[in-house]
């Protein structure tokens, strides 16, 4: 029993100190290296850029959803069995497992379900201006039917859960039938 894999993996012993994973095992494999050692040429790397490209079919429900966004409208689908109004719309109800029944136009206002202030971008680099993100439960859809989007025209410190918000649309000529046709949601003026 115990470790017979004497890997000669020098760095493990230094890191170990007096700790032991299991009383029967005394050494652990692995060679740590640093980013600088790789950049500085102490270790050799191979660099490769890989860009898989796609043209995803949006399907029946999302094709229509995008077309309606272009017109400045948000549409949902209703399931007549569970009576839920679903957004993002889908052609089948995942709870009842049956086709949904009808298109319903819902409002472009809603309630902040939860929110965050993001200081980093997709590659974990620090952003100069933080992005405000929220799950917005849309009015006219069933309770809890939220979508992910950005918030704008609001001080980060003033955002609260439960706050009423409204979509700010791009100009009709700028819209492309995309989720970004809504620039962001801003606090609803009462």
């Amino acid at each position: 029993m115990g470790r017979s894999h004497a890997g000669g993996h020098g760095c493990s012993d230094e890191v170990l100190g007096g700790n032991s994973m299991s009383q029967k095992i005394t050494s652990y494999p692995g060679h740590e290296i640093t980013s600088d050692e790789l950049k500085g040429g102490k270790y050799l790397d191979i660099q490769y850029k890989f860009v898989p490209r796609y043209s995803w079919a949006a399907g029946v429900a999302i094709s229509r959803f995008l077309d309606e966004l272009k017109e400045g409208r948000i549409v949902a689908r209703k399931c007549n069995r569970c009576q839920r109004i679903l957004v993002p719309p889908r052609m089948y109800c995942e709870q009842c497992y049956r086709p949904t029944d009808e298109w319903v136009q819902i409002k472009d206002t809603g309630t902040v379900n939860t929110f965050s202030i993001s200081h980093v971008g997709t590659d974990a680099r620090r952003l100069k201006t933080p992005i405000l993100v929220a799950v917005v439960d849309l009015d006219g859809a069933s309770p809890g039917m939220g979508i992910l989007h950005n918030l704008g025209e609001v001080e980060p410190s003033r955002i609260t859960i439960g706050m009423k918000v409204q979509a700010v649309w791009k100009q009709p000529s700028e819209r492309q039938g995309a989720i970004t046709d809504i620039r962001y949601f801003r606090p609803l003026e009462v």
Binding site: A6, G7, H9, L38, I46, K49, S63, R64, M91, P99
Partner: protein, 156 residues
């Protein structure tokens, strides 16, 4: 029951076009690092020898795939290899047409594994199974330890 409402006109069907741009910086691994250093610094191929079954493998690797024990012993191969199999293709990796390239899996006597690489045009014209080949290497100053250090293989 199937979906009852479907798209009947292709103009109603939306496609969303995007890509996933990825960049990778790979390390070759503990054994790979040694293989690459040998290629870069001395222009030779490093193989590993299994202490149990005594088989050798190229490129060098950390463990014997059949015995599953660590291989620490290494040996360098003389450049002379042979063509195990070969093919000619006329597209690049993205699937677009390119100039004809003949590739071979080059193996070395008494060693498992091998290297897939291009054959020179002259060699490609005459290639057959078992043909003896040698690598044409870049100058030492240009070598990075990757298989791009080999320009191609030619008949020995």
């Amino acid at each position: 029951m199937p979906i009852l409402e479907k798209i009947s006109q292709s103009s109603q069907a939306r496609h969303w076009t995007d890509s996933i741009p990825l960049e990778f910086h790979y390390t070759a691994g503990v054994a790979g690092e040694k293989f690459r250093r040998e290629l870069k610094d001395r222009g030779r191929f490093l193989a590993s020898k299994c202490p149990k079954c005594k088989d050798s493998y190229v490129p060098a690797r950390m463990f014997c795939p059949s015995c599953f024990v660590e291989m620490k012993e290494t040996r360098t191969l003389e450049g002379l290899g042979y063509v195990y199999s070969y093919t000619t293709v006329n597209r690049n990796r993205t699937g677009e047409g390119s100039e004809r390239v003949t590739l071979a899996l080059v193996k070395f006597d008494g060693v498992k594994g091998g290297i897939v690489h291009r054959l020179t045009a002259d060699t490609a014209d005459k290639v057959e199974f078992g043909m003896k080949v040698v690598p044409i290497l870049k100058n030492e100053t240009e070598r990075t330890g990757a298989l791009t250090d080999i320009i191609s293989f030619k008949q020995a």
